[in-house]
């Protein structure tokens, strides 16, 4: 019984630790700029993009390899979108509509 209890406890702690390791950060599109120009993440982390402007945005994520490209589609004012960074490497994020809305992400 103590062995089973210890195993279960270790398993639960593992889940909690794993869940805590995957963090989510929020980046706003505010005044036609991202609220931060760069971010450093761990594999599996997520960014939530919040459109704080009163016009449509269109986030596009490039990387980590030259062939990787994900278009998150049109994002209305007030809407949020999220993206999980599953691969290590460097990413470039920009708005297809507003070239000034851009940031760099490094995933370790």
């Amino acid at each position: 019984m103590p062995i089973r209890l210890a195993t279960a406890t270790a398993f639960l702690i593992g889940i909690v630790v794993a869940a805590a390791a995957a963090t989510t950060i929020t980046v706003g599109q505010h005044g036609m700029l991202f609220t931060q120009s760069a971010a450093s993440l761990a594999k599996g982390d997520r960014i939530v993009f919040t459109n704080e402007d009163d016009v449509i945005h269109n986030i596009h994520i490039f990387g980590p390899s030259n062939d990787d490209s994900t278009d998150l589609g049109l994002q209305k004012p007030g809407a949020t979108l999220s993206y999980k960074f599953d691969k290590s490497g460097g990413y470039r994020i920009r708005c297809n509509i507003h070239p000034s809305v851009k940031m760099a992400v490094t995933v370790k």
């Binding site: 505010h30 005044g31 036609m32 700029l33 704080e52 402007d53 009163d54 016009v55 449509i56 269109n58 278009d71 589609g73 049109l74 004012p77 297809n96 509509i97 507003h98 070239p99 000034s100």
Partner: protein, 469 residues
């Protein structure tokens, strides 16, 4: 699409028969407005857009890129879109990026112009269809975008190729910092510039074609517009330094005729190669944008009003400019915006030494200095009052400037209020925008004279429309 194109053609044909002098003006202009209203009604109800083809391509309202919700005054986003080659897009298929604009107006000058303000116009109080224009504005290929304007002038009663700017741009890195570089092919020095403190897109953004304007104008301030073809390269490094170099070639007589220009008019003539350079420093912080820069151009020309009896003149223009913009709430394209511009151009015109009797008494060097300062405040991207002071000074020479006392000096002020009801995120009409402008031009000095200048003062009431086809 074919129906809309046909409608545009009909509109242009109406414009081409328009003279709009009294008394036929009211009837014909009435017909023109009816057609515009029918076109507007036919275009359905969605968000209203700016050069509407650009706006449709990006799903943005006019106010995103234009202060006052109507071109050509650019916001930081408008400059960014232009510098990136007009290709930013929402990824949807909006058809060909074709748009149409019209400009109709009423002009009253304080003194009537004997013989009419222009051929087929009355001496004063004229209604006019100043311009009907069609644009290709947006992506040409995924990597190349452009702005190509074809226009019909109801004052000159002539069709022309208007402003052209075709671009390719890329983002990269230089010295560890971001760099945007690009190539441009255009037909007018400064038409490619993204700041409204250079001549091609400077204030006033609309003015009467039927009121007198001062004779003396520097080369770079429009004397070569649409009369040259040029290519250039530009670079914006670290969002701090903007650099550009272009080379232009004057069109020959045949080419000028082909693009709808009058080969021998008041503009300078040249078929030589001309260099143009531009350098600017920019800074964006919080709600502010500031730019300070310089540009220069040099060319061998034959001055346009035959003031050198056809003898070549080397004109060299050196200019300095500055722009400041304050955006009260950057998250709202309809927030109030303050905008100010300053431009100073120094021109040296050096006429070739000659024993020609016509020039024997004339000076061979003609300096000209022009300065302009304007400020505007756009309330909710809807009502935009503006004011400008302008001044031109130079050395007197009756033969060269052709003014009564030989002086090229002019100065005065322009007062304007523009009203744009649409072009905002919540506007009711799809692909359509309009601007109403009331403008008063007041001269203190006109062509060297500070007496009897009031007759050149003028009221201008303009009505512009813009729609995506």
């Amino acid at each position: 699409m074919r129906d809309k194109t046909t409608a545009l053609r009909a509109s242009i044909e109406v414009g081409s028969n328009f003279h709009c002098g009294w008394p036929v003006a009211v009837v014909l202009c009435g017909s023109g407005y009816s057609i515009l209203l029918l076109l507007s009604a036919a275009l359905g109800a969605r968000q209203a857009l700016a050069v509407p083809a650009f706006a449709a391509q990006t799903s943005q309202p006019c106010a995103t890129c234009h202060i006052g919700s109507f071109g050509p005054q650019l916001t930081p986003q408008g400059r960014d879109f232009k510098l990136h080659g007009y290709i930013a897009s929402d990824g949807k298929d909006h058809g060909l990026p074709v748009a149409a604009t019209t400009q109709t107006s009423f002009t009253h000058t304080e003194s009537s112009r004997r013989g009419g303000a222009a051929p087929d116009f009355r001496p004063n109080d004229n209604l006019a269809i100043d311009q009907v224009a069609a644009f290709y504005a947006g992506r040409i290929t995924p990597e190349v975008g452009g702005f190509i304007k074809l226009r019909y002038s109801g004052v000159r009663q002539q069709g022309q190729v208007g402003s052209v700017d075709i671009r390719h741009a890329r983002d990269g890195e230089l010295f560890g910092q971001g760099v945007l570089w690009g190539l441009t092919a255009n037909n007018s020095p400064t038409v490619q510039d993204p700041w409204n403190s250079t001549p091609a897109w400077g204030f006033p953004y609309v003015r009467s074609g039927l009121a007198s304007t001062p004779t003396a104008t520097p080369l770079v301030a429009g004397r070569l517009s649409q009369r040259v073809a040029g290519v250039g390269a530009y670079m914006l490094w670290n969002d701090l330094v903007y650099w550009e170099a272009d080379v232009y070639k004057g069109l020959n007589t045949e080419a000028l005729s082909w693009v709808g220009q009058v080969p021998f008019d008041g503009n300078d003539r040249t078929t030589t190669v001309m260099p143009y350079g531009r350098l600017a420093l920019i800074r964006d912080w919080q709600s502010h944008h500031a730019e300070i820069g310089a540009f220069a151009m040099s060319a061998n020309v034959i001055p346009g009003r035959n003031q050198t009896s056809g003898i070549g003149t080397r004109k060299t223009d050196t200019a300095f400019d500055a722009t400041y913009q304050y955006i009260s709430d950057p998250t709202k394209v309809t927030s109030d915006r303050l905008s100010a511009h300053a431009t100073y151009i120094h021109e040296t015109a050096r006429t070739e030494a000659s024993s020609t009797p016509a020039l024997a008494q004339a000076s061979l060097v003609h300096p000209l200095d022009t300065a302009r300062v304007d400020i505007s405040y756009s309330f909710a991207a809807t009502v935009t009052p503006s004011i400008q002071y302008f001044r031109t000074t130079g050395t007197a020479d009756v033969k060269y400037w052709g003014t009564p006392n030989g002086s090229p000096n002019s100065d005065g002020m322009i007062f304007e209020v523009a009203y744009v009801p649409w072009g905002k995120p919540d506007s009711p009409f799809a692909n359509v925008n309009v601007r109403l402008t009331a403008q008063y031009v007041n001269y203190f000095t006109f062509n060297g004279s500070s007496t009897n200048t009031r007759g050149n003062n003028n009221f201008f009431f303009g009505f512009q429309t813009a729609m995506k086809l």
